[in-house]
Amino acid sequence: MSDRTEPLLQVRKLRKYFVQRSGVFRQHKRYVHAVDDVSFDIPRGETLGLVGESGCGKSTLGRTLLRLYQPDAGSIHFQGQELTALSGGEMRRMRRHLQMVFQDPYDSLNPRHSVGNIIEEPLLVHGMGDRRERQARVRALIDQVGLPADSVDRYPHEFSGGQRQRIGIARAIACNPAFIVCDEAVSALDVSIQAQIVNLLLDLRQSMELTLLFISHDLSVVRHLSDRVAVMYLGQIVEIAPAATIYENARHPYTRYLIAAIPQPRVDSTPPPAVGGDIPSPLAPPSGCRFHTRCPMATERCAHEAPLLELITTDGGEHRAACHYWRETPGRLP
């Protein structure tokens, strides 16, 4: 196995395109650039927040990491193994170490299975323990995620949204995974319930030494949970830095805009002056810097030359941004 200093997960130039066919004979092909040359590391025990607006590719990235989608190019290095080189069977066995919690606890639980069966299933699939041991493990998990002890024989429809999300979390942690992708795991929940699930994740992360990729469009929740944050726009990471840096000293205009747009529950809070326009289609991303069509700082250069994810500093953690003008951003944007 790998030593402690090596990142748990190393992603290099990962690419996932989806084909969209049109025409009478479906002969015209166009490609949705869902994930386009994305590279990053997640050190062991870290929570990386992944934010962006709908269609930016954040969920596709999460699913491609677990090979729920097959990557088109690039590498995913996990605990010393290259995931993209594994066969289907090897990948299935590998999945006990990589798990996922989904957004919608209504859709991701089989309504005909009891909660006990749902949580036991990953243990069965991976051949862990005998019947008695598995049942003891299910009871322990139910307790660990804060569900009532009598949940074992009940069915998903008997539970509220927050409790169903607890069931999904219990299933994800059943095999003691090292890495969990949380895809909008608290987004569908009411505020008071959301806080309970955030607290559960904080608690499990510590007690189980979990490494998390926390995908969300809610920047306030991401800030609360993450050590580092990556911002995606149209299939690419445009900025990645320690959480405090992203929220206080972002250098990419899109990041600054995204953060200014969060409605703050404070007296005299006002919506920020809007940067116009909508998100361009990922079928035909703009040339050069993909944000240049909406960027107040854009110049001729931005339309032609795609910026690299440049290193800004390593002080207090690595900070990278993909903007030609990151040096000027703080003076020119609010």
Partner: protein
């Protein structure tokens, strides 16, 4: 001047031969030109309240079981269908969370906006209606509006569709705009564009706005006053500033405290409200928040009315003074 007053409204859900309240004893006043937020979690009854105001409840499942609704001096619950038609879209405009389901997918947007005026402004010529439609689309920020009149809803983004809905709701210059979670399905950057637009239009036209949302951040940006709902009832009402700085009901306090945005130290547990939300029909006797409340005492076995905290600030809690010491 009071534009809208709801008194002791009760809405019942009829299901399986049973009758359960989903809104239970709700009272709310809205002055002309004021902006009021109605805040609550799912199942609290906020959308049902909005639909009741226009008598748009899906019947026979949901029925108004009691109370009074007065709009501009008239009794809404006593109106016949002609009077109601006069009210909807003319004096009260409404926008919803999902513009795709509210717009007709097979009709050009220009036509849909003109239709509202055909109904309520029959004295206008076709030319005047077209003129007004172009003007409205310009005001909501649609580029080259005259050329987009014949476009269909699916040709627009979610944010632009919501703007078209707003244009339609404002076509007849209503006195009240009811906005039911209009930005919840939008991305945060598009949300801020739409919120800016609603603010601007409200300030220009002086119409009143009832803004229904679960997001206290959105309330802070749009509303002068706010009412917090829990299990079918208003439990606190105040100016937005007072609610944010001096929340006086344990539920409002709990909601604010649990927001990550207001939590200064990341990676620490959020002060969550214990237990699960309930619907109005599940409430036992006494204060409906009591089962989740850390300040519960025996007095809470009797349900408190809204008690006066200060001018424009009322809370349905026997112990509100506790929070101001």
């Amino acid at each position: 001047m009071t534009l809208l007053s709801i008194e002791d409204l009760r809405v019942d859900l009829h299901a399986g031969g049973e009758r359960r309240p989903v809104v239970d004893g709700l009272s709310l006043q809205l002055d002309a030109g004021d902006t009021v937020g109605l805040v609550g979690e799912s199942g609290s009854g906020k959308s049902v309240t909005a639909l009741s105001l226009l008598r748009l409840l899906p019947q026979p499942a949901l029925n108004i079981g009691g109370g009074r609704i007065r709009f501009d001096g008239r009794d809404v619950l006593a109106m016949n269908s002609r009077e109601l038609q006069q009210l909807r879209g003319n004096e009260i405009g409404m926008i919803f969370q999902d513009p795709m389901t509210a717009l007709n997918p097979v009709q050009p947007i220009g036509r849909q906006i003109e239709e509202v005026m055909e109904l309520h402004r029959p004295q206008w010529t076709a030319r005047q209606r077209r003129q007004r439609t172009i003007e409205l689309l310009g005001r909501i920020g649609m580029p080259s509006p005259a050329e987009r009149l014949n476009a269909y809803p699916h040709q627009f983004s979610g944010g632009m569709r919501q703007r078209v809905m707003i244009a339609m709701a404002l076509a007849c210059e209503p006195k009240l705009l009811i906005a039911d979670e209009p930005t919840t399905a939008l991305d945060v950057t598009v949300q801020s564009q739409v919120l800016n637009l609603i603010r601007e239009l409200q300030q220009q036209s002086g119409m009143a706005v009832l803004f229904i949302t679960h997001d206290l951040g959105v309330v802070a940006q749009i509303c002068r006053r706010v009412a917090v709902m829990y299990a079918g009832r208003v439990v606190e009402e105040a100016t937005t500033a007072a609610l944010l700085t001096r929340p006086s009901h344990p539920y409002s306090r709990g909601l604010l405290a649990s927001l990550p945005a207001l939590n200064p130290s990341p990676q620490t547990p959020l002060p969550a409200i214990a237990g699960q939300s309930i619907a109005a029909g599940q409430a036992g006797p006494g204060c409906r928040f009591a089962p989740r409340c850390a300040w519960r005492i025996t007095q809470c076995e009797a349900e408190p009315d809204l008690l006066t905290v200060s001018a424009e600030h009322r809370a349905a809690c026997w112990r509100w003074e506790l929070f101001h010491e």
